[in-house]
């Protein structure tokens, strides 16, 4: 898996816990030392030391996740397919719930979705290496910046077109 942020590729500091056995393995100090725990596994294993990473399906309810928000510093949302956009809405809702840690989109996303993912509140993506080979980091960084304007207020950094128009009017009125 390859983790890509707006600044480029990043070493993954998290290790996915897939079974209760995984959870017992010693963490160590090397790469991937923090556990990334699937929400479904959380009740079955000894709760890791906070802060840890939480891995959720894109169908997870906010009510199921909310109790853990205080003890996790990363939430990875599963994207079973790039065309499944549920994760975008879940990210938006998690941010609204007050989660300020790292939001990760995990799955076979395509570079063309990077800007949208960031605008919905994600900080990074974690894509399979086969995808990263076809669409290297450079493509992700280039596709991220193809659009410099957006209409929707409340999405992404910078002012929306509506806000920029307002600002221009106020400027002109001065």
């Amino acid at each position: 898996m390859t983790v890509i942020t707006p600044e480029g590729e990043r070493r993954d500091a998290y290790r996915l816990i897939e079974t209760t056995e995984d959870a017992k393995a010693p963490a160590g100090n090397a790469a991937g030392s923090k556990p990334l725990v699937p929400l479904a596994l959380l009740g079955e294993i000894e709760t890791p030391e906070a802060p840890f990473g939480l891995f959720v399906e894109n169908t997870a309810e906010i009510a199921e996740i909310a109790p853990h928000l205080g003890s996790v510093d990363l939430i990875a949302i599963a994207f079973p397919a790039f065309s499944d956009g549920r994760g975008f809405s879940l990210a938006k809702r998690l941010r609204r719930e007050g989660f300020t840690g790292t939001l990760r989109a995990k799955g076979p996303l395509i570079a063309d979705q990077f800007a949208d993912a960031l605008a919905c509140g994600f900080d990074e993506v974690d894509i399979p290496d086969t995808m990263a080979n076809r669409q290297p980091v450079q493509q992700w960084l280039e596709m991220k910046d193809t659009m410099s304007v957006h209409y929707q207020t409340g999405f992404g950094e910078g002012k929306s077109i509506l806000q920029q128009r307002m600002a221009a009017r106020e400027e002109a009125a001065r």
Binding site: R134, Q139, Q152
Partner: protein
């Protein structure tokens, strides 16, 4: 008309450049076909039976003469000299090459047009009443709302990977000409008891495999809360709409399976949580957009035109044209005109590049440079002075654009069907052509009166067959094309779905079957009832009986042969 400012311009230009990059990345293998397909669809590009097809957005069906001229240029330089107007007020080119598409998109951007989100699982072109701003029965102009939604829905970061396509329609008139109850979201502009402007909101209408009439989930939403409320609907749909089965993925299924009450509750819950003021457009922005749709500088004219009155007496053709294709204008001395793209034997909705150029000139000389596209695949000249009608009619005739059949039995809606479409199961256009030829006689058409026939070449129902007074659905049965006939569908404020009359029939039998149904209507009708009014009163039974009779007669004929 709305005009792009620097931001709209930059948005569209950057999007064109982005698509150019995506095409390059498809060709160099960075994007697989499965990945590229949704990206090209969201830029209006399909791969059909014979070629790519580019669907260009005509926001709420409004076009300028300049834009139509550019469409003519694209048709001539990059296609085969014609375009096809669709049931969602868009235009399609049937023969572009992938390598030319970025150049075509640039030409569109030159005249403030685009093909963004005319396909794919995202919010599509918002449609509206073709008589917006001029209809005598209008409460409020829906175009500013449609433009606001166009901008808000364009490349919305959260809602471009929906379970399925999503269509919004707006009407501001008493009579619904935008078919809002068969859209994913239907907005009806209205006022509350205090006289404040707002919307009645229905969700979950749609045609396709499981046709449904939209359910009202909000009787009244204050006008300035629109975007936040729509965002709430979209979020609930994006999160909860089914993704396990393409045929159950539209919001109508979610509303149906959840129940209207529960669905409404979820939308309201989401709406209560989101921060409305940060989502909604500020009043200044709404006013800025609305200013573009202010009434034009009308001349002060008497309600009736003496010139037109005399010309109508002298020219029966003109008289008939005005009677059939004229539409009551709110401004005295003016008239709106439907320009039929349904000449007998023609392809419904097709227009040649020559006709487009000629019509662009006509719109500039006779209709303040503006025209409209209707969901029934016709055009409208919205601002015609009655005094000008005789001269205008003469010009329309020279370009074969004066067919006086608006709303009649030969004004048939038909999807492209198997002649072009990769999804089609049967031909659609040739069926329309044969029916039109059968009823070509003007006197006969007039005697039959208003009769919307709608034909789809597959279950996806682009031809709106469910809401045709007579609906025709082409399917494949036993390796042959087979057509099912329904009656009683209606897309207006009395929205209803058609009822199937019996087994499917062969293509060559369709015109005869329609004749049998028309005969039944003529014998059953009371007073000045239209076809659909008669069906509503009698029910489908008399039509089922005559349809069965027709099939029996045909079977006997074939046995004799």
């Amino acid at each position: 008309m709305y005009r792009y400012d620097e931001f709209d311009e930059r948005f569209v230009r950057e999007r064109v450049a982005q698509f150019g990059e995506q095409v390059k990345r498809r060709l160099d293998g960075s994007l697989t076909e499965d990945e590229f397909k949704p990206l090209r669809l969201k830029n209006g590009l399909y791969l059909q039976l014979h070629a790519y097809m580019l669907r260009v957005a005509i926001p709420y069906g409004t076009l300028s003469g300049r834009q139509l001229r550019q469409l003519a240029k694209i048709a001539r330089d990059y296609d085969k000299g014609y375009g096809h107007f669709t049931t969602r007020q868009n235009i399609q080119f049937n023969w572009p090459k992938l390598k030319d598409v970025p150049a075509i998109l640039d030409l569109l951007a030159d005249v403030e047009m685009h093909a963004i989100q005319t396909s794919g699982n995202c919010i599509r072109n918002t449609t509206a009443d073709q008589f917006s701003g001029v209809a005598a029965d209008e409460v409020e102009d829906p175009r500013p709302t449609a433009e606001l939604l166009r901008q808000w829905s364009s490349q919305h970061p959260e809602f471009v990977w929906l379970p399925r396509k999503f269509k919004i329609a707006v009407t501001g008139a008493e009579h619904d000409r935008a078919a809002i109850r068969v859209h994913d979201i239907g907005l009806r502009m209205r006022r509350n008891e205090a006289g404040e402007p707002g919307y009645e909101i229905s969700v979950g209408g749609g045609l396709g495999r499981t046709p449904m009439i939209g359910k009202v989930i909000r009787e009244f939403l204050p006008k300035d809360e629109l975007l936040a409320y729509v965002e709430a609907i979209m979020r609930v749909y994006n999160a909860e709409g089914r993704r396990d089965n393409k045929f159950k993925a539209r919001v109508k299924i979610l509303v149906h399976e959840t129940g209207t009450e529960e669905f409404t509750a979820r939308v309201e819950e989401e709406y209560a949580k989101l921060d409305g003021p940060t989502v909604n457009a500020p009043l200044e922005e709404v006013e800025r957009i609305a200013a573009y749709f202010a009434p034009p500088a009308y001349e002060d004219l008497p309600a009736e035109s003496v010139t037109l009155g005399e010309a109508r007496k002298a020219d029966a053709g003109l008289d008939r044209f005005v009677e059939q294709n004229g539409f009551a204008h709110k401004q005295p001395g003016y008239i709106a005109l439907t320009i039929s793209l349904k000449p007998i034997g023609g392809v419904p909705g097709d227009m040649s590049a020559d006709q487009m150029e000629a019509f662009a000139d006509i719109a500039e000389r006779y209709s303040l440079g503006e025209l409209r596209v209707t969901h029934s695949q016709n055009l409208v000249l919205p601002y015609v002075k009655k005094d000008d009608l005789p001269a205008l009619y003469a010009e329309l005739k020279t370009h074969d654009l004066a067919t006086a059949n608006a709303g009649l039995v030969t004004d048939i809606i038909a999807c492209p069907g198997l002649d072009y479409c990769a999804l089609a199961t049967a031909k659609s256009i040739p069926i329309a052509q044969e029916i039109a030829k059968t009823f070509a006689d003007d006197a006969r058409q007039k005697a039959i009166g208003e009769l919307p026939i709608k034909i789809s070449g597959c279950i996806n129902a682009c031809g709106h067959h469910h809401v045709g007074a007579i609906g025709i659905l082409g399917l494949e049965k036993g390796g042959r094309e087979n057509y099912q006939i329904t009656v009683g569908g209606d897309a207006t404020e009395h929205a209803s779905l058609g009822e199937r009359l019996g087994p499917g029939i062969d293509a060559e039998d369709v015109p005869g079957a329609i004749e049998a149904l028309v005969e039944t209507y003529l014998s059953e009708r009371e007073g000045s009832e239209s076809f659909i009014e008669t069906v509503r009163r009698t029910g489908a039974d008399p039509f089922k009986a005559s349809f069965a009779g027709f099939i029996e007669t045909r079977a006997a004929q074939e046995a004799a042969e």
